[in-house]
């Protein structure tokens, strides 16, 4: 209903208004992804669902967008030496099978006419859960919910393996055992299990799954944080690429959605990534948590609107999802410029 209001003739079957919306939304999502190292993708699929795209197109295009974003981010992390190719190669199999299970579930639910509703409910639970966790950590001053910018500057040898990862490494010793970067020795089966579980989530929701896979790699496998980030992205290039291919075969990837989103997000990610050198993430993390909670509420409102056929509620849900992301992205940009200007003012008298 809402999509038809904004739809019309244009490039790649997408109207100029929708192209502008996707580029702008991509820019915002890119700033968030570049700054927090996660969280960009799980706003895209709900927004597409609210724009009345069929569930396989919303999830498939969301996944293709994640694939493109992962290609760009992996190129950057490769330059920084933060990709463990051995770990990535082992994870690809588990994640790929998981994605295929998730994808098949979407098509099965779609054949029952339940896909849109169930995916929206899953998003409400997921966004709400992760949002509550991030907000709680931010209010407590903890480091959860995203990449710790200071931690990524340490050497890999300086990282302590979490207790839970040590316990898993000592308990699960099913061969073959593999040695990873940071001198971590773990069963290949643990890696495959983590990869499969997060792959199912990716395939079902069209997200990269980094917000689950990164903590899982750190706490279940025991790899250092920067390696978890870089390897996660490398692995998404392959699993996301294959997932997109499978969705594409079913007509689930719309280039008119993915191309403009990627065009905006690639620029936004550069800005967001540069902002990490200037702004303290802890001050903004609470807004990020709030944004996820608003996103969960918005998806719920949009779904109720779709169920009762109210385009006003659908529009409200969409405005809330996009509005919350825009507010947090602007908070990052504003803090960055303010911080740079304040540093400049402090340094100017010293230079004189």
């Amino acid at each position: 209903m809402l999509g038809s209001v904004l739809g019309g003739a244009g490039i790649l079957g997408t109207s100029p208004e929708m192209l502008a919306l996707f580029v702008g939304f991509g820019l915002v999502v890119g700033v968030l992804f570049g700054f927090f190292g996660m969280g960009g993708s799980f706003l895209v699929t709900p927004a597409l669902l609210m724009l009345d795209y069929p569930a396989p197109v919303a999830v498939g295009s969301g996944m293709a967008f994640v694939f493109g974003t992962a290609v760009i981010a992996t190129l950057k992390h490769h330059d920084l030496g933060q990709v463990d190719y051995k770990l990535g190669a082992i994870m690809i199999t588990g994640t790929t099978i998981g994605i295929e299970v998730g994808r098949a579930s979407v098509y099965y639910l779609e054949s029952l006419g339940l896909a849109g509703g169930i995916i929206s409910v899953a998003y409400v639970v997921l966004l709400g859960g992760v949002g509550a966790m991030v907000t709680r950590d931010a209010l407590k001053g903890g480091g959860g919910g995203g990449v710790d910018h200071e931690a990524t500057d340490k050497d890999l040898d300086e990282y302590e393996i979490p207790e839970i990862a040590k316990t898993i490494q000592q308990t699960v010793r099913i061969p073959p055992m593999v040695t990873l970067r940071g001198d971590v020795r773990v069963s290949a089966w643990v890696i495959t299990a983590v990869a499969f579980a997060t792959g199912v989530l990716s395939g079902f929701l069209g997200v990269g799954g980094g917000f689950i896979r990164m903590p899982a790699m750190i706490y279940a496998i025991g790899v250092p944080v920067p390696v978890a980030v870089g390897t996660d992205l490398f692995e998404i290039v392959f699993s996301g690429g294959l997932g997109s291919y499978l969705y594409g075969q079913g007509g689930g990837v719309d280039l008119g959605i993915v191309a403009p989103l990627l065009f905006g997000s690639a620029l936004g990610a550069r800005v967001g990534s540069a902002a990490t050198a200037v702004v303290d993430a802890d001050g903004i993390k609470v807004y990020f948590g709030g944004m996820l909670l608003i996103g969960a509420t918005a998806v719920g409102i949009g779904e109720v609107g779709s169920y009762i056929g109210s385009s006003a509620l659908e529009l409200l849900g969409l405005v809330l999802v996009i509005g919350a992301a825009v507010v947090v992205a602007f908070a990052i940009l504003y803090s960055t410029v303010s911080s740079l200007r304040s540093t400049r003012r402090q340094e100017t008298p010293a230079a004189d």
């Binding site: 760009i72 299970v101 098949a104 690429g241 291919y245 499978l246 550069r270 410029v337 740079l340």
Partner: protein, 54 residues
């Protein structure tokens, strides 16, 4: 489309995913070049001086 599938070769879909891959690489290289070209000017415009906040 329901049920697990082994991917089969489909030139049209491969072209679609290849286009996204090429777009991603072009954007990485292109925006990188633009950043080097216009980054200092933009920083000067925003902050009022050379970028030295790091």
């Amino acid at each position: 489309m329901a049920g697990l599938e082994v991917p089969t070769w489909d030139p049209e879909t491969a072209l679609l995913i290849g286009t996204i891959l090429v777009e991603a690489i072009v954007l990485y290289v292109g925006y990188g070049g633009l950043e080097r070209l216009f980054g200092p000017y933009l920083m000067k415009l925003l902050v009022g001086g050379e970028p030295n906040a790091r």
